[in-house]
Amino acid sequence: MGVSTFADDLEKQGVKKVVRVDWKPPATDDEEILELLDKLGP
């Protein structure tokens, strides 16, 4: 889950099964989460 090229590379190496998780940051009104998001780039 995350950067898709890691999955691409695993498939190129012939790993038996690679499952990609369609992950997105949680959409939330949660103050704590919003605060954490803001810390990334105020």
């Binding site: 995350g2 999955a7 998780v21 369609d22 992950w23 780039g41």
Partner: protein
């Protein structure tokens, strides 16, 4: 005439590599002179301003907003670029292009794949712990690429993993090789008898590629993440890794790699290593010996020394046929060192290391400090020499880890995205006091598909700029890669050589050569405080 347009798409997230790909593709469109598709982190907003895109929209963008900025010769090219951007963004988000929709959560993925045994996690740091914990409680091993996870969370995750007899490689783990499969960044290697446990991704890459070029393969390379051997975490995964390799029948020799551990952790790890049934080579960059180490432990000062000692131990054991290695490593050419140093102008004195691998940056300092004296760095050998990575210095030796946190928020790692390194190279080229620029070039899975093509034009421009100013700018580098890597080791080597880059067989050798060129072969009395 140039036309500019900038759009902010609120709360529209894509990972940094997807954004880089989109930026690259938009930049190649007809008439486009500049293209940037980035998330609105502070670092990216600063870069946009430096490129000429400013204004209230940029200022107010947040880290989870997407910014698309295009500059082109005419309005129609700008519009076309935005059209293409929209196309690319719709294909990267939609699972509808596939036959089966992708699971949207880890729980869903695990439910549909009951025989899974590993989760590769590279989501932003503040969400990583929760996901890793879910994975461990479900009985899966974890490769945790994400950084910016707190030490407390890291400790909790590792204790959880140990209680379930699972591996958690990371946080902040860039490279692992398990059962001949590369996780994260890593090179195409032959499998063989050397097992590696490493708190450094690029350190693991350097040792494994050198072994490969000597005809010796790697059984497993277990990444522990950069903080594992701090006293707060206590080397939990390093010790687990040693235990696993000790019991692995295909491993005959074990190599440990990290920057110097915390004192308590060093003792614990060495105690475990000393109790191993197999020879252990310890490379705690700069640590030459330790009272706790038993007779089965041998210390190596540098990464290439660790590889050389491991190779020797394997030959002593004697039961392994060497793999056919036709990747002949070039020898250090003494004449090049002399001719480079002769071309320098008197004002040029300093080495500027611009690194994508943090451990390689550190190793370069270990090698160069006895020769050059104090070196400033954002990953310094001594606290007093610590600087911020983006601080500018007209004088003095510098070694900058451009993969450090201050450079990668909302951006792809410099092993993939060469933008910041290229900008920095041009900045250094303008300085009259800089003699040598020292680089690491990483090949393999995950890395930039063609580093030489990225570097060659900017190296030519930089050398030209220096020449116009009556100076000579020397470039020294090492390529860390194997013949099996997708970028093509031979071609990368040729292109950089043709660009007059001095190429050495290892990072330690490159650092040594860079220092020698800057010193112009003069012996220096250097007094260095230990």
């Amino acid at each position: 005439m140039s036309v500019r347009r900038l759009e902010v798409r609120k709360e529209n997230y894509r990972d940094s590599i997807t954004m880089l790909r989109i930026s690259n593709e938009l930049g190649k469109l007809e008439g486009v002179t500049q293209a940037a598709a980035v998330m609105g982190t502070q670092l990216n907003r600063k870069i946009l301003k430096d490129l000429g895109f400013s204004g209230p929209d940029v200022e107010s963008a947040k880290a989870d907003d997407m910014i698309i900025a295009i500059e082109a010769n005419e309005q129609k090219f700008v519009d076309r670029a935005f059209g293409r951007a929209n196309e690319l963004l719709s294909t990267t988000s939609s699972a509808g292009v596939l036959a089966k929709p992708l699971p949207k959560s880890l729980e869903a993925a695990i439910a549909q794949t009951p025989d899974a045994n590993m989760v590769v996690i590279s989501v932003p740091g503040q969400f990583a712990k929760r996901e890793a914990q879910k994975a461990l409680t479900s009985g899966l091993n974890v490769f945790l690429f994400s950084s910016n996870v707190s030490v407390e969370d890291e400790l909790e995750l590792k204790q959880l993993a140990l209680s379930r007899n699972l591996l958690i490689m990371g946080p902040d783990c860039g490279t692992s090789i398990i059962n001949n499969t590369v996780l994260g960044f890593g090179n195409v290697l032959h499998s063989g008898p050397v097992g590696i446990v490493s708190a450094s991704g690029t350190g693991l890459q350097q040792v494994s590629t050198l072994l490969d070029s000597a005809g010796i393969g790697v059984s497993h390379g277990i990444g522990t993440g950069g903080n594992d051997v701090s006293d707060k975490v206590g080397g939990l995964m390093m010790m687990k890794g040693i235990e696993l390799l000790d019991h692995d029948p295909s491993t005959k020799v074990i190599v440990l790699i990290s920057k110097p551990p915390g004192e308590r952790t060093a003792r614990k790890v060495l105690e475990v290593a000393s109790g191993c049934s197999k020879p252990v080579i310890v490379n705690f960059l700069g640590l030459k010996e330790h009272s706790e180490a038993g007779t089965s432990c041998t210390f190596a000062l540098t990464l290439d020394e660790a590889a050389a000692i491991a190779a020797k131990k394997i030959e002593e054991i004697g039961t392994y046929a060497k793999i056919d290695s036709n990747g002949k490593r070039p020898l250090i050419d003494e004449n090049i060192i002399v001719s480079e140093s002769l071309r320098l102008s008197p004002s040029q004195r300093y080495v500027r290391g611009l690194y994508s691998g943090g451990t390689l940056c550190y190793e370069a300092q270990v090698v160069m400090r006895p020769m050059l004296g104090e070196i400033r760095s954002n990953v310094p050998l001594v606290k007093a020499m610590r600087i911020a990575g983006d601080q500018d210095f007209p004088e003095g030796h510098l070694c900058i880890d451009m993969g450090a946190e201050e450079f990668v928020v909302g951006r792809a790692h410099p092993m993939i995205d060469y933008t910041l390194r290229k900008l920095r190279i041009m900045g250094e080229a303008k300085k009259r006091t800089v003699a040598v620029i020292l680089l690491d070039v990483l090949l393999g899975y995950g890395s930039n598909p063609d580093p030489a093509s990225e570097l060659v034009p900017v190296i030519a421009e930089a050398k030209n700029l220096a020449e116009q100013d009556g100076r000579y700018l020397s470039f020294v580098a090492s390529i860390i890669g194997t013949n099996g890597d997708p970028q093509g080791l031979e071609r990368q080597t040729r292109m950089l050589r043709d660009a007059r880059v001095v190429l050495e067989p290892s990072n330690a050798a490159a650092a040594r050569s860079a220092a020698r060129i800057a010193l112009r072969g003069m012996a220096q009395e250097v007094s260095v405080r230990a």
